[in-house]
């Protein structure tokens, strides 16, 4: 399938997801998700609204109650692991709704996720990436603009030392100039060796940062291709995404 087509003998998988199924209460959302992410890659899950992209990220993070199949992080099986333990292994999650806490100021929001591994960015490095945050440290978290909230949501997981980041639609609802800034940030993180799993609707943005793509539809991964094959797959992509 998609996996074998893109198999790269030299690459070491950070994340391997096989036959993942997941449920929200009674509704069966994921019907067999298969994909992998190798060290240092930016992999993007594309798909329409409701296809199961966010549920896939949440399942990997351990915050979907019922899940079956296999999720491996490095050489450990994390299918049944609780989310706090998964985070402590070095997985960081930036949710679609950003999850900025209203009862915490910007500084408290930034310092909330505990450091889980050595080697995270220092506050100075973070302010270098996102100068706006430094000016707003004492503001209430939710008083920031949408773009600043997104920066804060990314910034706070960079401090923790996690080397595998999952970003759920980081560009949603943001102005082009901010999207560009987030694109630069992702490119820079990739250069520094972070591994990133991205969920995007905006594949024009994804094309600027991703190494590989998987297409998610009706709770399944139905296709996958490398960035170099993007042009060749453009027609297919338009059909999949309905754009």
């Amino acid at each position: 399938m998609a996996d074998s087509k893109m198999a790269d003998a030299a690459a070491t998988p950070v994340l391997t997801v096989q036959d993942l199924e997941a449920w929200y209460g009674e509704s069966h959302i994921l019907h067999g998700i298969n994909f992998n992410v190798n060290t240092g890659e930016v992999v993007t899950l594309l798909g329409r609204n409701g296809a199961g992209k966010t549920t896939t990220l949440k399942s990997v993070m351990g915050i979907i109650g019922k899940r079956t199949g296999s999720i491996r992080f490095g050489d450990q099986d994390i299918t049944r692991t609780s989310s706090d333990k998964i985070a402590r292994m070095g997985v960081a999650f930036c949710p679609e709704e950003r999850g900025i806490f209203a009862s915490l100021d910007v500084r408290e929001n930034l310092l909330l996720p505990p450091v889980v591994c050595p080697g995270g960015l220092s506050l100075d490095q973070i302010f270098d990436l996102f100068p706006n945050l430094k000016e707003r440290l004492d503001s209430q978290g939710t008083k920031l603009s949408g773009g600043e909230q997104q920066m804060l949501a990314i910034a706070r997981i960079l401090r923790t030392g996690a080397r595998f980041l999952m970003l759920d639609e980081p560009t949603e609802g943001l102005a082009p100039v901010i999207i560009q800034q987030i694109g630069h940030t992702i490119a820079r993180l990739k250069k520094e060796g972070f591994t990133i799993l991205l969920v995007e609707q905006n594949f024009r943005f994804a094309a600027t940062v991703a190494d590989r793509y998987y297409i998610v539809e009706h709770g399944k991964v139905i296709d996958g291709f490398a960035n170099s094959d993007l042009q060749a797959n453009m027609d297919k992509l338009h059909t999949y995404l309905g754009v």
Binding site: S83, D84, G99, F101, P114
Partner: protein, 288 residues
């Protein structure tokens, strides 16, 4: 005038207990989403714990002030681990029924062994006697209760609003799933929070022992008023419950002086008025 000041002092004392108890209720409600009806029972257990420490083990007031809240807090954490944690995500009604049932059982056990009359607990030697303030006579122990309660309340407020631990707590109140996904052990934090709330109630129980005697139903009588205080202050607001606790104690005291017939109902009349004007309570935020 003397009588007015005396009632004001009684009001402040009651206010201290209201504040300590409603503070614990607010902390527990914020984190566990449970209205802890067992709060009066653990307050009573704090007082009994001090009584046992003194009469069985010969341990006096000062160590009891530390030991009783910790012991009762641990008891609370066991209740949370074994029973309350299974209520997460269910309707408030389940938590209310469970904690109300626990309160009845605990109070019933104590009543079975100790009856309903009060057991005496002496004021510690260091705090005996009183001071003449010129305009009134102040029993030292009562002054101590007010000042010490105020310090504990402010310390708790500081812990929750100004420290790193408190930031974790506030964040987990808003979005426990995400906080856990950052690597914080939220279930353990919930257990400790329940222990803290219960410990504060037990501390109030120890403070109250020399004033109100130690009775199995001492908490049941008090807790109804405390719930009115929490409703007026707004569930989930720390500073709100402290200020409302003290303020309502004072208002109750003043009513005893100016119109004694209404002293038992004034808190509830205020509750109705506040609910009519601001259903979330004076400092409460609307919850979703």
């Amino acid at each position: 005038m003397q009588a007015l000041y005396a009632q004001l002092l009684v009001g402040l004392i009651n206010g201290s207990f209201y504040a300590l108890l409603s503070l614990g209720l607010a902390v527990i409600f914020g984190m566990l989403n449970i209205i802890n009806f067992a709060h009066g029972a653990v307050y009573m257990m704090g007082a009994f714990c001090a009584y046992f420490l003194l009469n069985v083990m010969g341990i006096g007031y000062w160590p009891a002030l530390i030991i009783a809240p910790i012991a009762v807090g641990i008891f609370g954490m066991i209740l949370e681990r074994t029973m309350l944690q299974w209520l997460a995500g269910l309707d408030h009604l389940y938590g209310l029924l469970l904690t109300f049932g626990m309160a009845l059982i605990i109070q019933g056990i104590f009543q079975n062994y100790f009856g309903s009359s009060g057991l005496p607990y002496a004021i510690p030697d260091e705090l005996r006697g009183g001071m003449n303030l010129g305009f009134m006579f102040l029993p030292i122990y009562r002054g101590w209760v007010v000042v010490f309660s105020l310090i504990v309340c402010i310390a708790t407020w500081y812990l929750i609003e100004k420290t790193r631990l408190g930031a974790n707590l506030r964040a987990a109140t808003e979005n426990p799933t995400l906080v856990r996904a950052f690597g914080i052990n939220v279930p353990r934090m919930i257990t400790l929070t329940y222990g803290l709330g219960v410990g504060l109630a037990a501390l109030a129980g120890v403070l109250s022992a020399p004033i109100n005697q130690v009775r199995p139903l001492m908490g049941a009588d008090l807790i109804i008023v405390v719930f009115a205080v929490v409703v007026i202050g707004g569930m989930g607001s720390i500073m709100g419950s402290i200020i409302t606790g003290f303020a309502l104690g004072v208002i109750e005291g003043l009513t005893k002086y100016f119109y004694p017939e209404a002293s038992n109902t004034v808190v509830f009349v205020l509750m109705v008025l506040v609910l009519l004007v601001k259903p979330t309570g004076l400092t409460g935020r609307a919850t979703t």
